[in-house]
Symmetry: C2
Subunit: 149 residues, 2 copies
Amino acid sequence: MKGIAPLLCCCALSLLTLPALAADQDVIQFREAVMKTLNEQSAALGQIASGVIPDDNLVTHMDEIALAASAALKAFTPKVPGGEAKPAVWANWADFSKRMADFAQQTAAGAKIAREQGKDAALVQLINYADSCKACHDMYRQEKSSDTN
Amino acid sequence: MKGIAPLLCCCALSLLTLPALAADQDVIQFREAVMKTLNEQSAALGQIASGVIPDDNLVTHMDEIALAASAALKAFTPKVPGGEAKPAVWANWADFSKRMADFAQQTAAGAKIAREQGKDAALVQLINYADSCKACHDMYRQEKSSDTN
């Protein structure tokens, strides 16, 4: 698959490396891509929730965050400290992985609620996301830059 | 819905504003969240394609980019130049919106291919994403920072 890597450069050039150089940095970059996706979709949903952006695509954005959440734990399974992840992630793996699984469940439920019950009910569920995000970040994240939240 | 906005602060504090202050900046921030999601998922897929990250969640990531692509055009419908979007987006709206619709179709097809035909076939489709990304960015995007691609 090496051959096609250069062709993906438009969006991901800085993150591509050859398989032979697979290293901890790749693992860190990958999980940062996953967590930044969650961050961007949280931001988008926050704007919809606060009413500054129309809710036309509410279900789509709730599906997006649910999908991202469903894949997030996998990105942390390699025990590679670094980036903004505290070593506590792996020291307290049972707790961390339960939180991530709960988050995936909450976001999946939120997407279902948005689809079946509409915006108001979905936004109540969003409050739970917020609590989950904050509680987990407080324990397991050490923020290193100002451009992520 | 204003009341719950502060509770979403864990992930999106910097992007929340009150509805009364809804302004062009909100529109720009929202579409940047959408495009950064595409960027992060492109990066993740690039790493999977190049083999440095296992392909366990390939289908999930292809679903994520397809969902993000499906909602992307909507984020550009308000005619609000700024951020990294060139005014050409709105000057050439018919072309831009066709490109975005094609991109949404390609990514949806890619997710289906990943699900039904597996990794190798999906990665061929990824090459098309790359071409679409680059062609559209060349015409409609003026990069302003080094942290997005």
